[in-house]
Amino acid sequence: MSGPTRSKWDLPRMLRLTNVRILSQVFFFVAFILACWATWTSRLGGYPVSRLLEMDPLVLLSTGLATGHVYRYLGWGLLILAVTLLFGRVFCNWICPYGTLHQLTGWLFNIRKHPDRWKSNQYKKIYTLKYMGLAVFLIMAAFGALQIGLLDPICLMYRTVATAFSPASDMVMDALSAQTGGTFFWDALKFAPGTERRIFVGSFWIGLFLATLVGMNLVIPRFFCRVLCPLGALLGVFSRFAIFRINRDVHACTDCNLCLTRCEGASDPHAQLRLSECFGCMNCIDDCPEDALSFTFLGQDTKQVIPGTNLGRRRLVFSSIAGLIAFPLLKNHGVNTNANYSDTLIRPPGSVEESEFLERCIKCDQCINACPTNVLQPATFKEAGFEGLWTPVMNFNIGHCQLKCTLCSEVCPTGAIRRITVEERMGKGPFAEAGPISLGTAFFDVGRCLPHAMEIPCVVCEEVCPVSPKAIQTRDEEVKNVFGKLVILNKPFMVPDLCIGCGICQTECPVTDRRAVYVTPVGESRSSERRLLLHKRNRPEA
């Protein structure tokens, strides 16, 4: 290149790595938001809305450790690993939407000046914490307790957008559409058009969790990515083998430390590069007035790199011990076992048996986003304990599980909710012998039921029961009520053999605080331990 000639259309300058990187970040961030937006029953079509989750190598590795198998599209995680082996941890600064969010926040609000600015981008020992966290998570996963979803950036971001951001955004769109009187335009911008505004139990904490981590950017730039991110840690482990990396030409370097000004990963490009920390943001190349830095595979100076994680054996051992301790603590917490489980822990149709479910669910809440009736909710401690925090549960006060809907099973990246068809769900065709998938069993609280307790005709529950023959039947009785009027009361009762636990009876029950009919998970078909009936009376014995 000849000299610093600057025209308005200097193509090489426009196509330099940092600009391409920003384009890539915009592309993936928009794609991510669009994926969340498209995860709606009227838009879904065949869009691969969960692909970013399925490409997450940490999901691949941890579910692989927990289950010994690779579900459906999880093999795509190799793509990111391959990119990492080629270019280092570029995922963090080129693809990861959560990283983009952090970088954007720092770029906008980080008002530090020199020398605070470059000092804030020096490597700190605490950045090894993420590797310790990863060791804990992976060891727990190997035993069968999958907790990576708490901190995996893609899961965390999906979860927050689905349960905290999307209802907030829809709230704004609703307000704007009420102001302008338009609907179709605003509907297009809404995450969940054509339904009541969705609510998500406990989404405050999910939103606060993300907001806190983003806010930490002002204390330590890219705090989450540098200190906590388990996916970054995993990629950091692999990036030590990367072919391409930032190389410093010592003979050109004047040790001015300007390269630290905007270093995203705090990877010390001014000295020996900490390869596992480098996000490949390429800012240091732009910031080097001596052109001493380049992203290359040829002519690398092997003395100017520290490839490992700087974790050290001692910390690795301690974190492994922490993982070994965490597993029994989590499993013996006892709120989600077959001997004692919450009567509100109702899993969506297609869910595998609970212990297997917990080996697979990454708490991405993509299923919750896909649910058209808002019945799927992120679990709180009450339903699933710490181990099942933010995993999907059904809350039939909010919605019901539609008979012919299998969207959650379609979008689940890990097979916690196995891909099922409507035929399988309803137990028809080739699934006739297995019978319909049941989520639980409905029970009546006759003390609160209008016809049973108060001589008031009702039976919405029987009316809406979607199975044929209906699982709610009535004993019809004519009585003279307390005001002396003759009324016919259809007193409902359950036929547990037919109930599929879809919860529409509970949703539609007019006794809205504590429902007079409610579903509990006993009798769910995914578990033989939680079976209720020895024989289903409507099914002849084989």
């Binding site: 692989g64 198998h69 690779v70 072919i243 010592v250 092997t302």
Partner: protein, 345 residues
């Protein structure tokens, strides 16, 4: 180009990555990548593939085990069932056992024997709710001394705390006094058992550990009233080897009890008529529920044995529980005991 720039750090010597190591690294990455790609992307039925397209592949595969048939051919002249009467337990037991051919006919030197008493509840001995510890002790001694058995195990999966039930029923101490070993159930003691022909427990969690390498199995049961299935005797005693959510089976009690007869084909069944729980069974708890008797029944046909005990010990007439007929249908014995029972007084 700024070729005229001064050379910084002139003393520093670069160590450039050699082409060779670069190629080696590329080759390693490519090799590992291919291997990982194969493992994760190859179709399920290819060898070593980890792919799970349906989510069903990683469902744990349970390979159920099967029990052997513990029956021993009885001596030609012996009767199927024998009732020993006498003033004390030892005499009753010896009379009954001798009449069916003697214990030494059934248990050979070096055998490992499992005694399965009924220790279902945390009850004192002699209340009729649990097996008579005296029988257990004498039987363990006979097995170890007379039959020269290698090991005698005593095991049950009680409804209440296993350790308490064994201690307070007296069965645990009695077994240990005699020289036997008590096996208590814990979460590792159970495995899925396959019983061909069983209706409800074709594959079911089973208290398996005490049965590992066992050669002979002897049931030692009390005779108890039972509201749902009329009587709990020799066959119902095997319920205590089931694990899992066995409380569901009360929805079809006669089927499960007859399944039990099929699940375990014992060498011998011994039913104790010393303390008969006539009512408030199968838990009892009050001495007034217990009728003392002077009979012990032993036999190789558990169905006939239960039928006899039902009629003569519980004194319920000949309207036998349905599970006995179901057990007969499943080929576990014959209800009609006439001509096959020997009474020794």
């Amino acid at each position: 180009m700024d070729n005229d720039k001064p050379k910084q750090n002139p003393a520093y010597v670069k160590e450039q990555l050699s082409r060779r190591s670069l190629i080696r690294r590329l080759a390693t990455v490519a090799g590992l990548g291919t291997a990982a790609g194969y493992l994760t992307l190859a179709p399920e039925d290819w060898p070593f593939s980890m792919k799970d397209q349906t989510g069903l592949r990683s469902k744990p595969v349970i390979t159920p085990l099967q029990l052997t048939d513990f029956r021993v051919e009885k001596p030609a002249m012996a009767s199927d069932v024998a009732v020993g009467r006498g003033p004390n337990v030892e005499e009753r037991l010896r009379k009954a056992l001798d009449a069916i051919g003697g214990l030494t006919h059934y248990v050979k030197p070096g055998d490992i024997v499992l005694l399965k008493p009924n220790v279902a509840f945390d009850r004192s001995p002699n209340l009729g709710a649990t097996s008579n510890p005296e029988i257990v002790e004498i039987l363990v001694r006979m097995l170890l001394v007379d039959c020269r058995a290698q090991e005698v195990r005593v095991a049950d999966n009680p409804i209440e705390s296993p350790a308490d039930c064994f201690a307070k029923s007296g069965v645990g101490p009695a077994a240990e006094r005699g020289g036997g070993r008590v096996y208590l159930p814990d979460s590792n003691a159970f495995r899925t058992l396959n019983t061909p022909g069983a209706v409800l427990i074709e594959n079911w969690l089973f208290f398996h550990r005490p049965l590992t390498n066992v050669d002979k199995v002897i049931g030692v049961a009390p005779v108890k009233d039972h509201n749902l299935c009329q009587a709990s005797m020799g066959i119902k005693n095997w319920y205590g080897l089931l694990g899992g959510r066995r409380n569901q089976f009360h929805q079809d009690i006669h089927e499960i009890v007859s399944d039990l007869a099929l699940m375990l084909r014992p060498t011998l069944t011994i039913v104790d008529g010393s303390y008969i729980l006539m009512k408030n069974g199968p838990t009892g708890g009050d001495p007034s529920n217990v009728k003392p008797g002077d009979a012990i029944v032993a036999g190789t046909d558990p169905v006939a044995l239960d039928a006899w005990a039902f009629e003569h010990l519980l004194e319920r007439g000949t309207d036998f529980p349905r599970y006995l007929f179901k057990a007969e249908e499943k080929g576990c014995g014959r209800v009609d005991y006439r001509g096959r029972v020997e009474l020794i007084t």
